[in-house]
């Protein structure tokens, strides 16, 4: 069996600085095969962005402790690489699309220059080849006027176009894995659809594995086959999208889904909400982190942490799943 494109084993991130000790990510494991798109869903502060930065090694070196049993891309463990070796991998085998295209792109360089820079980093030499690769990348993401876009500066493009330019930067080296962190926030619905469609095209064309991080469940539903739900640093559920939306097993997942406002034929009488609040990272409850807010919690939930039970590619971390 072919090894997965991305495989993360027991990744944990701990912060230990003047604000206190915080377990930001707690033993998260998952894998994504080539050509698949998996969504990582969770609310602000659940650790999903930290997770992606840790995979990349973009976290600060002081006050932050990252541990794992392995972060593998196509079977090669990158967590043990030296900084220099890692730099060879980033951009070539794994690439990231950030949340704010406005600030992620350098305002003083043209789109073409920035994309070419990424290509050249991993394929030094031939200028014509670089230029061609850059133009191909632009065409791949769906731009029409390639030369014009390549010569434009970020501020000359709309938000949606900047995001596409970022995607082009991420895909120019045809990486095996792409991590997209909230790629469609701050974009309106029609642009959002366009971005997701382009990601989809790239996925099928180059068999890239995509990890799509979002707080928006509906975005994940539109573009991913599988989804993982995170809460307070822990993975609570992993399943295929269809199952999650029809038969979520973890109470938190179900609660989250019930909060999404639906457009039905009649106005709902009441609005569903999960009671309580997300606990502060320095003050996480013992046992299951969701227990204080869960209406199915019992004493076992507050004493010990439920393990993540895997069965037929699906998993849930709960003593009393739905």
């Amino acid at each position: 069996m072919k090894c997965p494109a991305l495989s993360v084993k027991n990744l944990s991130i701990r912060f230990d600085d003047s604000s206190g000790r915080r377990q930001v990510v707690d033993r998260v494991s998952f894998s994504i095969n080539a050509g698949e798109a998996t969504g990582l869903v969770g609310e602000s502060g659940c650790g999903k962005t930290m997770l992606s930065l840790a995979i990349f090694g973009l976290l600060p070196s002081t006050g932050v402790y990252v541990e794992s049993d392995g972060i593998e891309i196509n079977g090669h463990d990158i967590s043990t690489l030296s900084a220099k070796q890692k730099r060879a991998v980033l951009g070539r085998d794994i690439a990231m699309i950030f949340q704010q295209p406005g600030t992620a792109l350098d305002p003083v360089f043209t789109i073409g220059q920035q994309i070419s820079a990424v290509y050249r980093r991993h394929n030094p030499g031939d200028k014509t080849k670089t230029r061609q690769a850059m133009l191909d990348a632009l065409e791949d993401v769906g731009f029409g006027e390639l030369e014009e876009i390549a010569a434009s500066y970020p501020h000359q493009l709309s938000g949606g176009m900047r995001q596409l330019a970022m995607i082009a930067m991420a895909t120019v080296c045809k990486p095996a894995v792409i991590i997209a962190d909230e790629p469609t926030t701050a974009l309106d619905s029609s642009t959002r659809l366009m971005i997701l469609q382009q990601l989809e095209r790239l996925r099928t064309k180059y068999q890239t594995a995509i990890l799509l991080i979002s707080h928006d469940l509906t975005v994940v539903r539109q573009s991913c086959s599988d989804v993982m739900v995170m809460y307070c640093g822990r993975l609570l559920e992993k399943t295929d999208c269809q199952s999650l939306f029809t038969r979520a097993r973890h109470p938190y997942s179900a609660g989250l889904l019930s909060c999404i406002p639906q457009i039905g034929n009649s106005r709902p009488d009441g609005i569903n909400a999960i009671p309580g609040q997300v606990p502060a990272a320095t003050d996480l409850p013992r046992g299951c982190h969701f227990a204080p807010r869960c209406n199915r919690a019992e004493s076992a939930c507050r004493q010990s942490v439920p393990d993540f039970h895997y069965e037929n590619g699906k998993g849930v971390a709960c003593f009393r799943p739905l």
């Binding site: 609310e43 434009s152 176009m161 469609q197 539109q222 989250l256 034929n265 609040q277």
Partner: protein, 334 residues
């Protein structure tokens, strides 16, 4: 029985032909917008993210002076009011913003933030003000001990509750919520919407709820107004809108919002479209360029507001559409 001398009381808020022009570059941000809100009801204003909807809110609060039109609060034009009247009116209309962290003054304690409107409008004495503050905090689901803390010490959900408390402390009759839940996580959004529902039901507060999210609007709006490029292209009751929206743009919005999985890759190439600023002098339908249902007249004459009357199980009421397709339709039974 109504005596002939009795006049029906004016709606709580009525906007008539409001227009606002931007100077550089010249653009019509609000284009002859008219709508009204009855006391205790909620109007949801939807449309793509853009300056038009927020500008309407700011014009009502008289933070911007419009170029034309009237803003009538209980029959009196806010734009013509003298400072004293304006101050009395401002007590009755309050605003809640999108970013809770940015809408609370960072160096002031919650106590100071909540006290400020009471002091400014000279409401009650010191003791009454304190009681009002505590009462309002309870309404929004917060404890009295938040008072001595500072905004940055709270989560965004709590901050938004504080912002709502600040708006409620003067006992307003109308609350304008400008994308008030757009920045919140979905579970917190749900909690805030629950709060808004309580304010609607138990306190009878009217809302002008601006949002790009139709799902959210569905939860709390009685009526809907759809904006496109500064114009109001459709207005109707919420039930009518979600079951039988008329304007092609409204239908497009509804289809985007219905979250159909999965995607079919399309082959369209993306054009730069640099020349976005077009002259607003051209008398065509503002949506004609992108409309899938357009007919030749759409690019020649600007459509008027056509009224579709309907009688069915939904509340019988006015349904207005700014579209040529409904030109010949009158007294249409849906």
């Amino acid at each position: 029985m109504n005596s002939p001398m009795q006049q029906p009381s004016p709606p709580l808020l009525e906007i008539r032909d409001l227009s606002l022009r931007f100077q550089k570059p010249e653009r019509l941000i609000i284009d002859r917008v008219s709508f009204s809100i009855e006391a205790g009801s909620t109007l949801g204003v939807v449309g793509a993210s853009g300056a038009g909807k927020s500008s309407i809110a700011r014009t009502i609060m008289r933070l911007i002076e419009p170029d034309e039109g009237k803003v009538l609060f209980k029959g009196e034009d806010i734009l013509q009011m003298d400072p004293r009247q304006l101050m009395a009116t401002r007590q009755r209309i309050q605003l809640v913003f999108q970013e809770p962290s940015a809408s609370l003054s960072p160096r002031r304690s919650i106590q100071q933030i909540l006290l400020e409107p009471l002091q400014h409008f000279s409401i009650g004495n010191a003791e009454q003000r304190q009681e009002k503050i505590l009462q309002t905090l309870q309404t929004v689901g917060l404890d009295g001990d938040v008072l001595r803390r500072y905004p940055h010490q709270f989560s965004s959900g709590q901050q938004q509750r504080i912002a709502i408390a600040r708006a409620l402390v003067t006992d307003p009759e109308l609350l304008i919520a400008d994308e008030a839940v757009a920045s919140l996580d979905v579970s917190i959004q749900a909690q805030i919407l629950q709060l808004i529902q309580t304010l609607q039901k138990d306190h009878g507060i009217a809302f002008l709820f601006i949002s790009h999210d139709l799902g959210v609007i569905r939860q709390i709006a009685d009526d809907i107004a759809v904006t496109y490029r500064g114009q109001l292209v459709e207005q109707s009751s919420a039930d009518q809108f979600f079951s039988a929206a008329a304007h092609p743009y409204s239908k497009a919005l509804l289809s985007f919002a219905s979250h159909k999985p999965p995607l079919q890759p399309k082959g369209n190439r993306l054009r730069l479209g640099r020349g976005r600023t077009e002259s607003d002098k051209a008398p065509v339908c503002v949506f004609a360029r992108h409309c899938p249902e357009k007919v030749p007249v759409c690019e020649q004459v600007e459509p008027a507001d056509h009224v579709i009357r309907y009688r069915n199980q939904h509340k019988a009421g006015r349904h207005c559409v700014k579209c040529h397709l409904y030109n010949k339709v009158n007294n249409h039974d849906f």
